[in-house]
C-alpha cells in the first residue's frame, strides 16, 4: 500500500517540537544591526518636515533613512500585484491604487505608515532614537470607515479617486436581473457587514538582509508565502537590479493566511540599509506594530436580494458591495472582492441570472489584502445568509431550500451563469451526510433541554463552494551524489506540511524511500520559479507537477536502465521503484539507475551527453481546469441571554476535497479554517475610531483571538469525489474551513434569537452585541 491517502505523521514536526525550527528571527547574521520603523501616529497628515539630526547622535545609532533620500536614490515604489488590465472601472478608466513609497515623503495616509527607518545596535537604541526624530505633521481630516469615505463631501484619500472610489466593477446582467425580479413570487433582502479582521499569524512579519559589497549581491531572509514573488517585486520594481543579484530565502514561517504573500516596505528597507551602512540589518515586527502595519482582511458592506418562484427556486440574485481597500491598493487588495470570487458568487445553486456590483473604497486605514479565502468567504457569507433568511421567510427548512436549488451531481460538468465550469461534486450527499453527522433531527430535544437551563439554542447551516487552481509553479526532481532525492518546488509551505505530503507523492510515484526525499522550497535561487503558497493551490501546482516531473524521470530512467541492462528501451518496465528487463528477471532500483546516470561512468558517451543532468527532470502542471472544493457546515450554539455570551456547542463539517492525500493534515486545515471563521463571526473585530481613523483594537489586549476555551471539538468527515481536471483528482482544502464557517455560525445565532423577534445579526456577535440585540428586540 502506498503512502498517498495515509495519515502519515509530519516529518517537519521533529524540528518544531524540539525548538529547532528556524524562523527569520532565528537567522544569525554576524554583526547584524537592528532596523526599526518610525510610524505615523496620524491617520491623515501632511509632513512639513522630518528632522533626524538629534536622533542620529543618540548612542548606538548607525543611521536613519527617510523617504526623500530613497526618492533621490531612485528607489522604486510598492504597488498592486493585481494587474491594472485585469481590473478597471466600468467605464474603462484605470483604477486608483495610490502611490506607495517605501517611506512616505509628503503625506501619511494611515496610522502606522512608516516615515523613517532607524538602524541601531539594538532594538532599544533604535527605539530611543526614533523618539528623538522630529516630524512636523499638519493633521488633515481622515476617513476610516466605508460609510465615512463614501459620504458626500468626505475628505479624499487620493484626489484622483472621486468619492474615494478606487474602482467600480460589475458582473452579470443588470437589466435581465431586474426583469427576473419582476416575476418573483418572493424576494428576500439582506444587509450585511463583513467585519474587518487582523490576520495575526503567530509569527509576525520580519526580514533580515545583507548586501555583499564585493559581489554586489543582496540576500534577504523574509517571512513569506513565496520567495519568488517577493524577489521579483524587489528586484524589478524597487531596487531595479537584475534578478540574479538578489536571493530571497524563506526559512520556516509561522503562519501566513494571505498576509505573507505581499512585499512590505520593511523587506527592501533592510537591504537598502545594509548596503548603505555596511552591515546586515534585521527587522522584526512586534505584535502591536503588526496591528498597525500588517495588511488587514475583509471589511465590506453588502446589500443583497434574491428572487424566488413560488416553490422557492432561485430566479435571480443581485448584490451590491462596498469594500474597504485602505489607503493604498497593494498586493491582491484591489481584486479581492470582485475578480477573485467572481465564479462563486452564486454559490452551489442554479442561479439563472445575476448582477453583482462592487466598489473598492479608499480610506485612511492600513491596506486590506488577502485573508484566508480572500473574497470567497465573503461571497459565501452573503449567499448563505440570504438563503437562510429566505428559508425562514418562505417557511422552508434550511436543508430544503438548498436541496431545491442545488446544482445536481448528474448535471456536472456544469457551466454556471457566471461562467464557472464545475467539474464534479455531490452537494446533496454531503448535505445529507452532514445532517446525519450533526443529528439535525435531534435538535428540538436539545433546544428544549437548553431552554430548561435558561439558554437559547440555535443551529445554522451553510453550504460553501470555492474555486481554486491556477498560477502554475514548476517542480524539479534531482538526484544527489549522497543518494538523496531533492524535490524543488515553487510553492512555499508555512504550516501546511508539504515536506510530508509532497514526499509521499514522490515516494509512491518513484518507489524511493520516503526518508530519502528532501523538499527544496522558499528560495528564489535554489527552488524553481513559482507563485508561492496561497489560495489552496499548492497540491494542485506542486503535487500534479511532481507527477509530471516524475514521469520525465522514469522516461529517462528507462533509457539508462536499458543501457545498463543491455536491452532495448521497449523491453524496460518500471514498477515498484525498479526498472525491469522483461526478457530476463534482472532489475535495477531507481536510485541505482539515477546514480549511474549522474556519474555517467557506465554509460555510453552519446547517452551521457544527451542526459547531461542524469535523471534530473522538471515538470509544470499548467493545464486548464479549475477545482471546486465544497462542503456542508452545521453549527450549534447556545446563548446565555443574561450576558449575551455565545458558546459554540458543536460543529460539523462534511467536505469534498476530491482526493485526500493525507487525512490527518486535511483535518487540521479544516479545524484551523473553521476556528478563523468562528473567530470572525463571534469575537474578532478590528475597529477604527469614527472621525479620527485611529486604530482602537491595537493589541491582543483589545482584539479577541480565539482561544482553546472559546472553541468546541470539530466533527469532520469527507466524501472523495475526484476532481476530473487534474491528475491527482484533488480540489484544495486550505481555505475551505474559513469559507463555510462564518455563515454557519451566524445562521445559528439568528436561529437562537429568531423567536425573540430578532431579524438582523451582524458579525461579530460578541456578548455585548447579542445582549444589545436582545434588548432592542424586546423593546428595551
Amino acid at each position: 500500500m502506498g503512502l498517498m491517502s495515509q495519515p502519515i505523521r509530519r516529518t517537519e514536526d521533529k524540528r518544531f517540537i524540539t525548538g529547532r525550527g528556524r524562523y527569520v528571527d532565528d537567522v544569525k547574521m554576524e554583526g547584524a544591526a537592528i532596523g526599526y520603523a518610525l510610524r505615523s501616529p496620524y491617520a491623515h497628515a501632511r509632513i512639513l518636515s522630518i528632522d533626524t539630526e538629534a536622533a542620529k547622535t543618540m548612542p548606538g545609532v548607525i543611521g536613519i533613512i527617510v523617504g526623500s533620500e530613497l526618492e533621490a536614490a531612485g528607489i522604486g515604489h510598492l504597488g498592486a500585484a493585481f494587474p491594472a488590465s485585469m481590473l478597471k472601472n466600468r467605464d474603462g478608466t484605470p483604477r486608483v491604487d495610490g502611490d506607495r513609497a517605501l517611506l512616505t515623503v509628503d503625506y501619511v495616509r494611515y496610522v502606522g505608515e512608516p516615515v523613517a527607518f532607524v538602524v541601531a545596535e539594538s532594538q532599544n537604541a533604535a527605539k530611543d532614537a526614533a523618539e528623538q526624530i522630529l516630524v512636523d505633521y499638519e493633521e488633515l481630516p481622515a476617513v476610516g470607515l466605508i460609510d465615512e469615505a463614501v459620504a458626500p463631501g468626505a475628505p479624499l484619500v487620493w484626489p484622483q479617486a472621486k468619492g474615494n472610489i478606487a474602482v467600480d466593477w460589475e458582473q452579470g446582467d443588470e437589466a435581465a436581473t431586474e426583469t427576473a425580479f419582476a416575476k418573483a413570487a418572493h424576494i428576500t433582502r439582506i444587509d450585511l457587514v463583513n467585519n474587518r479582521v487582523v490576520v495575526n499569524s503567530m509569527e509576525a512579519r520580519g526580514a533580515a538582509g545583507r548586501f555583499d559589497k564585493e559581489t554586489g549581491h543582496y540576500e534577504l531572509f523574509v517571512t513569506s508565502q513565496g520567495a519568488h514573488p517577493i524577489a521579483d517585486t524587489i528586484a524589478k520594481r524597487i531596487l531595479k537590479i537584475p534578478q540574479e543579484r538578489l536571493r530571497v530565502i524563506t526559512p520556516d514561517v509561522g503562519g501566513g493566511f494571505g498576509l505573507k504573500m505581499s512585499t512590505f516596505a520593511e523587506y527592501p528597507l533592510v537591504l537598502i540599509a545594509s548596503e548603505r551602512f555596511g552591515m546586515p540589518v534585521k527587522w522584526m515586527s512586534e505584535r502591536t506594530e503588526a496591528f498597525q502595519s500588517d495588511s488587514h482582511g475583509r471589511d465590506l458592506k453588502s446589500h443583497a436580494e434574491m428572487a424566488f418562484d413560488a416553490e422557492g427556486r432561485i430566479l435571480a440574485y443581485r448584490v451590491c458591495t462596498d469594500f474597504n481597500l485602505g489607503a493604498y491598493g497593494l498586493g491582491f487588495g484591489p481584486g479581492i472582492q470582485n475578480i477573485i470570487p467572481m465564479f462563486v458568487v452564486g454559490g452551489v445553486y442554479k442561479v439563472p441570472v445575476l448582477h453583482n456590483y462592487v466598489r473598492a473604497v479608499l480610506t485612511n486605514t492600513v491596506p486590506v489584502e488577502a485573508y484566508r479565502g480572500a473574497g470567497r468567504p465573503e461571497a459565501a457569507y452573503i449567499i448563505e445568509r440570504i438563503m437562510d433568511l429566505a428559508a425562514r421567510e418562505m417557511g422552508l427548512g434550511q436543508d430544503e431550500i438548498r436541496l431545491r436549488n442545488f446544482i445536481q451531481s448528474h448535471e456536472m460538468p456544469y457551466r454556471s451563469y457566471v461562467g464557472a465550469l464545475i467539474d464534479s461534486g455531490d452537494f446533496q450527499r454531503n448535505l445529507h451526510d452532514c445532517l446525519k453527522q450533526a443529528d439535525w433531527a435531534g435538535f428540538p430535544a436539545r433546544r428544549a433541554e437548553s431552554e430548561k437551563r435558561g439558554k437559547l439554542r440555535g443551529r445554522g447551516m451553510a453550504y460553501y463552494i470555492e474555486k481554486t487552481a491556477g498560477g502554475a509553479s514548476a517542480v524539479d526532481i534531482s538526484f544527489t551524489e549522497a543518494g538523496r532525492v531533492e524535490v524543488g518546488v515553487g510553492t512555499s509551505a508555512h504550516g501546511q506540511g508539504h515536506e510530508t505530503t509532497f514526499a509521499a507523492i514522490v515516494a509512491d510515484k518513484l518507489g524511493v524511500p520516503f526518508e530519502s526525499i528532501d523538499l527544496i522550497q522558499g528560495d528564489s535561487i535554489r527552488a524553481p520559479h513559482g507563485g508561492g503558497t496561497g489560495g489552496s493551490r499548492s497540491l494542485w501546482n506542486s503535487g500534479n507537477g511532481i507527477l509530471k516531473a516524475a514521469d520525465a524521470v522514469i522516461d529517462k530512467g528507462r533509457e539508462v536502465a536499458a543501457a545498463l541492462l543491455d536491452t532495448s528501451i521497449d523491453q524496460v518496465t518500471f514498477d515498484d521503484g525498479a526498472f525491469r528487463a522483461q526478457s530476463s528477471n534482472r532489475f535495477l532500483p531507481l536510485l541505482e539507475v539515477a546514480e549511474a546516470a549522474r556519474s555517467g561512468t557506465k554509460l555510453p558517451a552519446e547517452l551521457n551527453e544527451r542526459l547531461e543532468k542524469g535523471l534530473n527532470s522538471s515538470g509544470t502542471h499548467d493545464e486548464k481546469g479549475d477545482t471546486f472544493p465544497n462542503g456542508c457546515h452545521i453549527c450549534e450554539i447556545e446563548i446565555d441571554p443574561e450576558t449575551g455570551k455565545v458558546a459554540v456547542i458543536s460543529y460539523d463539517v462534511v467536505d469534498d476535497f476530491g482526493f485526500v492525500l493525507n487525512p490527518l493534515i486535511v483535518a487540521g486545515q479544516v479545524h484551523g479554517g473553521v476556528a478563523q471563521g468562528i473567530g470572525q463571526a463571534l469575537m474578532e473585530n478590528c475597529l477604527y475610531e469614527p472621525g479620527t481613523a485611529q486604530l482602537l483594537s491595537g493589541s491582543f489586549m483589545d482584539y479577541t483571538m480565539p482561544r482553546a476555551d472559546d472553541l468546541p471539538s470539530f466533527g469532520f468527515t469527507y466524501n472523495e469525489i475526484l476532481c476530473t481536471t487534474n491528475p491527482l483528482g484533488i480540489k484544495g482544502c486550505g481555505e475551505a474551513g474559513t469559507v463555510g464557517a462564518a455563515p454557519a455560525v451566524m445562521n445559528a445565532v439568528l436561529d437562537a434569537l429568531w423567536d425573540k423577534g430578532v431579524r438582523e445579526v451582524d458579525m461579530p456577535m460578541t456578548a455585548l452585541r447579542v445582549w444589545e440585540t436582545l434588548q432592542r428586540a424586546m423593546g428595551g
Partner: protein, 159 residues
C-alpha cells in the same frame, strides 16, 4: 548611568553566568545570549504564550520576566525537554496527534502542557482548554492540540 547586573542560573541543566543590562528580558537572554531560539516571541502584551518556559518547574512567560529575576533559578526551555533522537512524551504526542502546523506557538504550547500534565494524568478536554488560556494558536483551531495534551499527559503519567 545604568550599569549591568550579574546573573547566574541553570538553563537546561547547564550553569550559566553572565552580565546583562537590567532591562534584558529572560526570553531575549535565552534567544540572543544562549542561542536557544526555540523559545519564541509572538506578542508584546503577555497574551500569546509562545515564550513559555519552565522556571523552577512551573510554566511562565519568559517575555514578562527580566533575566535578572531568574537569578538563582532553574530554567527549562523546549530544547531541554527532549531531542530529536530522544523525544519527551509530550513532544511525541504533538507529532502523533498533528498538534501543530506552522510550529511557531508549539514550543510554548508544549512547555505549558508539560506543566499542566504534572498534576493531571487523566485530564478532560475541558480542563485542557481551560489551562491553555495563556497560549494562542492561529493554525490548528486547538482541536488537535487538546488531543495532543490529553495523550501527552497520559503518556507522561506512564513514563
Amino acid at each position: 548611568m545604568v550599569g549591568t547586573v550579574s546573573v547566574a542560573f541553570s538553563v537546561n541543566g547547564r550553569d550559566v553566568k553572565a552580565k546583562v543590562e537590567p532591562r534584558t528580558l529572560l526570553v531575549t537572554f535565552l534567544r540572543e545570549n544562549l542561542g536557544l531560539t526555540g523559545t519564541h516571541v509572538g506578542c508584546d502584551t503577555s497574551q500569546c504564550g509562545a515564550c513559555c518556559v519552565l522556571l523552577d518547574g512551573r510554566s511562565v512567560k519568559s517575555c514578562t520576566i527580566l533575566a535578572v529575576q531568574a537569578d538563582g533559578a532553574s530554567v527549562t526551555t523546549i530544547e531541554g525537554l527532549g531531542t530529536p533522537e530522544k523525544l519527551h512524551p509530550m513532544q511525541i504526542a504533538f507529532n502523533e496527534n498533528h498538534g501543530l502546523q506552522c510550529g511557531f506557538c508549539t514550543p510554548g504550547m508544549i512547555m505549558s502542557a508539560v506543566d499542566f500534565a504534572q498534576g493531571n494524568a487523566e485530564p478532560t478536554p475541558d480542563q485542557v482548554r481551560e489551562w491553555l488560556e495563556g497560549n494562542i494558536c492561529r493554525c490548528t483551531g486547538y482541536h488537535n492540540i487538546v488531543a495532543s495534551v490529553e495523550a501527552g499527559a497520559r503518556a507522561m503519567a506512564k513514563a
